[in-house]
């Protein structure tokens, strides 16, 4: 907005609920649960891509694993007629994210791409965002972690290694989005559908995960989101997640 706007116009604008301007992109994901086999390839890919530390056996046992995406398992029915169901659970990048307003220092907020982002170096570690998150999608660095040789050689230079006391969570591999947008800007165009894929989407063997721009009506995500099987997890909380799950009931 320009500086010449009168105070009255500014007031009107800032009193608007929702976001200031239309998102450039509105990144979203569709997860087809009927295709998910629970193989955890996405979990591993995420671990490698985003420099997630390995907390060790003790850390895992006390419930402090750092995972940006996890496969939740639910048993359905009684033995012997029993079924195992999977839900890959990651940050839902809610439009009305409960985690954002609670941060006292703006370490988490909504950016112009419609992503719920976490600024690691701004985080002071109140952990309120994790407490407020109904999806438990946030992980906390209880300690500073080191990578034994030669594992440190595989750290991704595009992603910060987080310090102790910092909250972290799925970013939809924002470093890849940034790369794609950078290339697109050089060529003076928008990012094409399918040009950018988070690590989990890229590694899914059954292509249960699809990623794309929800602002583009022709993208694979927008089309899949129209699917009648679609639902949002904990929709009744009005968080309006960006991730749509497909499940045949």
């Amino acid at each position: 907005m320009s500086d010449s706007d009168s105070i009255k116009e500014k007031w009107k604008k800032y009193r608007n609920p929702g976001y200031q301007d239309k998102f450039d992109y509105s990144w979203g994901m569709v997860i087809d649960l009927d295709r998910c086999t629970g193989c955890e390839a996405c979990v591993t890919a995420c671990q490698a891509e985003n420099n997630l530390p390995i907390v060790g056996e003790e850390g895992f046992r006390s419930g402090r694993e750092i995972k940006w995406i996890r496969i939740e398992r639910y048993w359905d029915g009684e033995y012997p007629d029993i079924k195992l169901r999977f839900i890959p659970m990651l940050c839902q990048h809610c439009d009305n994210a409960p985690c954002e307003p609670v941060c006292p220092v703006y370490a988490t907020y909504h950016n112009q791409d419609g992503l719920n982002v976490q600024v690691y170096n701004r985080c002071i570690g109140t952990r309120s965002c994790a407490a407020y998150c109904p999806y438990d999608a946030r992980s906390f660095n209880w300690f500073s972690f080191t990578w034994d040789k030669p594992l440190d050689e595989q750290l991704n230079p595009d992603v910060t290694v987080r310090e102790k006391g910092v909250m972290e969570k799925c970013t939809f591999c924002i470093q890849r989005i940034r790369q794609a947008k950078d290339t697109a800007k050089d060529q003076n165009r928008r990012v094409r559908d399918g040009e950018v894929q988070p690590a989990c989407v890229q590694s899914c063997p059954t292509q249960a995960l699809v990623f794309g721009d929800r602002n583009d009506p022709d993208s694979a995500v927008s089309k899949l989101a129209q699917n009648p099987r679609g639902y949002q997890v904990l929709k009744e909380l009005n968080t309006n997640p960006s991730i749509i799950y497909l499940k045949n009931l």
């Binding site: 006292p104 002071i124 952990r127 438990d136 300690f143 102790k164």
Partner: protein, 441 residues
């Protein structure tokens, strides 16, 4: 019930100044022990935690909040004893307030300081706490005033300032009285603190007006502080925390635990400074009645909370409620009910209220129960959030226990220093309750 032999005006001065200047070896022993305990059990573990990370505490992924935050709420709760109670009793002109309010207000101040320290301990990166303070900086980034945590920062700042001013303004005449009785560095200190107070009719009048205004301002402030603390929790959408009843629930709980804290503190003051003629069984009797009322109120709101969960019809709420009443933490819950709702019913008997030892026991039990309450609010709700795959259990570690004990020692430390600097009983207000010399003729 009145003490038989009332002290004279001169005796009041003698008695109170004596508590300031005459310091026995027992005092130094107590101060030394408290200091040592607070260093070993509070500052050293905290330093260790700063170096290694908050992982030293028993918190884990669903239970990201733990005993540190419970400590914070506990100390904020204790802080509601003094200044709020003192202000309410001042407005309602209760004469029995006068002997106890000074130390009660000091309790507020120190409990608030400890509470803010607990926030430091709680943070993952305490060294960046200043980012949550509003000041112009090169990053051009201000704190997020939409956050309930920022309400906390502002409320605590206001309350800390407000209660310090309230304590100080009320103590100016006493500083002046002490000023004339001491020498050396104390003389300078009290001359500065008393601002050249002479006790003229004009000064008394201004003091009375200002003090009443401050009391009127403090009451809504104190109520808002604990409401704001409750919104830290209630503004989430976590089942078990997302209750509209939380603000009154927290305020009542705070006054409840604070009043119990005053009883404990009064017992100790009376015993160790031999202030028997100032802190009488009348005070204990009155505070006992107040405690009884508050315990009933507290129990009522607790039941209200359970009923709203039960009748909400939301499966998540009911699950959390079940877990609270019958789950892993159920022994703690029922212990809390015993300490805070059942045992205080004994206060209905006058003998219990006027016996110092039973009052001490009940007040300590109430505070234990209230600490459990704060811990339960956090743990039972966070352990059972929406997605069952991510349920978990939280147990405090040694570091957390040690930091809590250390914070109590630190509080005692502050208090011991305070009673040697500020007259712990308000001389001029105690004199108001005595016979004025003109009736002695």
């Amino acid at each position: 019930m009145r003490q038989l032999k009332k002290p004279t005006y001169a005796q009041v001065n003698d008695d109170i100044v004596r508590t300031l200047v005459e310091t026995g070896p027992r005092y130094y022993l107590a101060l030394g022990t408290a200091l040592l305990v607070s260093i070993v059990l509070f500052f050293l573990p905290w330093y260790y935690q700063l170096r290694t990370g908050v992982g030293l505490a028993g918190m884990n992924q669903p239970n990201v909040w733990g005993s540190y935050l419970a400590n914070f709420v506990f100390w904020i709760g204790l802080s509601h004893s003094g200044t709020l109670l003192s202000a309410v009793l001042h407005i309602t002109q209760s004469p029995w307030r006068k002997a106890i309010y000074r130390s009660a207000e000091a309790m507020t101040l120190f409990a608030l300081i400890i509470a803010s320290l607990c926030l430091f301990v709680h943070l993952g990166r305490s060294w960046f706490l200043h980012w949550a303070l509003p000041y112009p900086n090169q990053m051009e980034l201000w704190p997020n005033f939409r956050s309930p945590l920022l309400f906390d920062v502002m409320a605590i700042t206001a309350y800390l300032t407000g209660s310090s001013v309230f304590l100080y303004v009320g103590a100016i005449p006493d500083f002046a009285a002490v000023r004339d009785r001491v020498c050396g560095w104390r003389k300078n200190l009290y001359t500065l603190l008393s601002l050249g107070w002479r006790g003229t009719d004009m000064e008394w009048h201004r003091l009375g007006v200002a003090y009443t205004f401050l009391a009127v301002l403090i009451i809504p402030l104190a109520v808002s502080v604990h409401s704001v603390v409750s919104w830290d929790f209630a503004m989430s959408i976590v089942p078990g925390l997302h209750h509209t009843v939380f603000a009154p629930y927290f305020v009542v709980g705070a006054i409840y635990s604070g009043t119990a804290g005053i009883v404990t503190m009064m017992f100790l003051l009376r015993k160790y400074f031999s202030l028997e003629s100032y802190i009488t069984t009348t005070h204990f009797n009155n505070l006992g009645k107040l405690l009884l009322l508050l315990s009933l109120l507290w129990a009522y709101i607790n039941m209200l909370e359970i009923f709203t969960g039960w009748y909400s019809g939301s499966s998540a709420q009911i699950e959390t409620l079940n877990y609270k009443l019958f789950g892993y933490y159920a022994p703690l819950f029922w212990g809390m009910v015993l300490f805070c709702a059942i045992i205080p019913l004994a206060l209905i008997v006058k003998k219990v209220r006027t016996s110092l030892i039973t009052m001490l026991i009940i007040s300590v039990l109430i505070n234990i129960g209230m600490y459990i309450e704060r811990l339960l609010i956090l743990t039972t709700s966070l352990s059972r959030k929406y997605l069952p795959d991510y349920w978990g259990i939280y147990t405090p570690t040694l570091v957390e226990i040690s930091i809590f004990i250390g914070s109590v020692a630190l509080f005692i430390c502050f208090f011991l220093v305070f009673v040697k600097i500020v007259p712990s009983v308000s001389m001029y207000e105690v004199k108001e309750t005595l016979d004025t010399p003109d009736r002695r003729r």
